[in-house]
């Protein structure tokens, strides 16, 4: 059979095509060129920027890795995690203790941090995600609250409230900050590729399906609890990896870096950057790096307040976040281009 033609069957309203229909491939005209330019810029950056600026860019990439993971839970799965900063902190401390106390080489700390936080993510997510929603928020909230005092409790291992300095990675032929930048950049690139593959696969589709229509997802054979738990463990693992990178970058860990307020700032970054969008985590990381620093100049207590107000403002004015605003801007530019250059 040739089948009934959809258009013939529903001829009363023709579907829009191209831009108006949201055909994503056409909204950004020079995708490949933009990608190539990004690669060149990313590779050249450490030889142009002064060390302090490069340090800041490295931190943005570190937070971007953390937000890629958080976006899996908040954006793709539609759940709330208030404990992302704690998993980030666990990763940071795993790296710090392995390098500083055990004298292990830094490359092994990355998989170790990933493994530990993946396991913790399973353990925390398994009970909470059977109930979901607010329960997950409460469980992750308590994880975030418990971590700093716990770290202070074992000063022989963690350095206590004062924290501890850690030797940063060194590479031959490059300055330390340049070497670290490239390490973080490479890790971030792998992290992006992993999330991209994941969200475009069977599991990623299931997360979107479960978030948008749980009943239909279940009828299609998708088990919500199992997918959400896996997504949560992955998100914790990304936070752990980012935490280890943070230790490499800053060469210092202290309990008060990884408080509830970091978790809230990260959540704000994910929302403000744009949920479940490719560019969201990077834009969110810019916000996470820049906003608390700027707010602290006003008042030491301001960062939490400013993050909160920004969440409200974005949810109210631009629900798709900065990524959505940029996409709309790009679409507006593309619409003004001569038709021939659009494809």
């Amino acid at each position: 059979m040739t089948g009934v033609r959809g258009a013939a069957l529903t001829g009363h309203r023709r579907p829009a095509v191209g831009l108006a229909a949201g055909d994503r491939r056409r909204t950004w005209p020079w995708r490949r060129a933009a990608l190539a330019m990004t690669v060149v810029a990313a590779a050249g950056l450490p030889f142009v920027l002064p060390p302090y600026r490069l340090f800041q860019v490295t931190l943005v990439l570190v937070y971007a890795v953390a937000l890629l993971g958080l976006d899996l839970v908040v954006g793709h799965s539609g759940q709330i995690s208030l404990g992302h900063g704690a998993f980030f902190g666990v990763g940071a401390y795993v790296a710090a203790v392995m390098i500083g106390r055990l004298g292990l080489p830094y490359p092994v700390t990355l998989p170790a941090a990933a493994l530990v936080t993946y396991g913790l993510g399973w353990a925390a997510g398994l009970p909470a995600l059977r109930l979901r929603g607010l329960y997950l928020a409460v469980v992750t909230f308590s994880v975030a609250v418990v971590l700093p005092p716990l770290l202070k409790r074992f000063p022989e291992v963690t350095g206590g409230a004062m924290g501890m300095p850690v030797a940063t990675p060194r590479g031959a032929g490059l300055d330390d900050d340049q070497w670290i930048y490239f390490l973080v950049l490479a890790t971030a690139a792998v992290a992006v590729a992993g999330i991209r593959n994941l969200t475009r696969s069977r599991g990623g589709r299931a997360l979107t399906a479960i978030r948008q229509h749980p009943a239909a997802a279940e009828v299609l054979g998708m088990q919500a609890a199992s997918h959400l738990t896996r997504a949560f463990a992955w998100s914790a693992m990304y936070a752990g990896v980012a935490g280890a990178l943070h230790t490499w970058t800053t060469g210092f860990v202290a309990p008060d870096t990884f408080t509830l307020s970091l978790s809230i700032t990260l959540l704000a970054g994910a929302v403000i950057g744009g949920l479940a969008t490719p560019a969201g985590p990077l834009l969110g990381a810019l916000v996470v790096t820049a906003v608390p620093a700027a707010a602290r100049e006003l008042n030491p207590a301001a960062p939490g307040l400013v993050s909160g107000l920004l969440i409200v403002a974005v949810v109210y004015a631009a629900p798709t976040g900065l990524a959505g605003l940029l996409r709309r801007a790009a679409a507006a530019v593309a619409a003004r281009l001569p038709a021939g250059r659009r494809a």
Binding site: M1, T2, G3, V4, R5, G6, A7, A8, L9, T10, H12, R13, R14, P15, A16, A20, A21, G22, D23, R25, A193, G194, I195, N197, L198, R200, S201, R202, G203, G204, R205, A206, T208, A209, R211, Q212, H213, A215, A216, A217, E218, V219, L220, G221, M222, Q223, A224, R230, A231, W234, A276
Partner: protein, 253 residues
């Protein structure tokens, strides 16, 4: 004809409301059965019980002899039951093709690790080919990359049927598939379902308000009213049954 689906004594209460009351229904392998009844008769609730969306207080649902009550809801798809929803339940965040690929979820095995490491490409290609073949069958190939909101309502109904078929069902439950279609579209739509039924050797139960549609489509009609089965038989007999006329035709005409 061996009964694929056997419902016996099914009772479903929501608080003080009895949505289904002692309903018996047997559907043979390969049958195409119409399920009619006024609003609130319990038609959609019956579908919900068949897909384990609801846990009935009494009665049994056997699919090929297996008690569905023993299965968790997400395993019912694996036993070959697929359905569509009354107001269409496509996933707006996925393209039309991805929606159909999501329908084939149970035919994939890739987990998070395999997918993230790029090991699921072969399976992904297979699911994509399945989806594209189904979309082509429905004449929807050109919409594959579009988000579902960009399509007219009648077309989204077709996409949802394609998604249900992607699961590879033995028993297909269609909840008001013709609802919201323009009158001119209805005969072609009935033809489509008839062809699917014949070519894929499916067992289909259709819930429908649109009586001309369902009477022209199904040889056997079951009528529910306020949770009770009031008629079950050949379409011509049910159409003339005074109780059915009072319950359905009087209301919907």
């Amino acid at each position: 004809m061996a009964a694929l689906l056997e419902v016996s004594g099914l009772t479903m209460r929501f608080g003080g409301v009895t949505a289904l009351s002692g309903v018996d229904l047997a559907v043979g392998e390969g049958e195409l059965v119409g399920l009619i009844g006024p609003n609130g008769a319990g038609k959609s609730t019956l579908f919900d019980c068949l897909t384990r969306r609801c846990a009935p207080q009494e009665g049994r649902v056997l699919l090929a002899g297996e008690d569905l009550a023993r299965l968790p809801a997400h395993r019912v798809a694996g036993r070959g039951v697929a359905r569509t929803f009354q107001n269409t339940a496509l996933f707006p965040g996925l393209s039309v093709r991805e929606n159909v690929m999501a329908g084939a979820h149970r035919h994939g095995r890739a987990g998070f690790w395999g997918a993230a490491l790029g090991l699921a490409a072969g399976e992904e290609r297979r699911l994509r080919e399945t989806a594209d073949a189904l979309l082509a069958r429905f004449g929807l190939g050109e919409y594959a990359d579009h988000p579902p909101e960009a399509l007219p309502y009648g077309t989204t109904k077709l996409v949802e049927i394609a998604r249900a078929l992607a699961a590879g069902p033995r028993l297909l439950l269609l909840d008001e598939p013709a609802g919201g279609l323009a009158p001119a579209e209805v005969p072609a739509f009935a033809g489509l379902i008839r062809r699917l039924h014949a070519e894929l050797r499916l067992t289909i139960v259709v819930v429908e308000h649109h009586l001309d549609f369902v009477l022209s489509l199904c040889r056997r009609i079951v009528c529910l009213e306020r949770g009770h089965k009031i008629a079950d038989g050949p379409a011509d007999a049910v159409r003339r049954d005074p109780a059915v006329v009072a319950a359905c035709l009087g209301v919907t005409r």
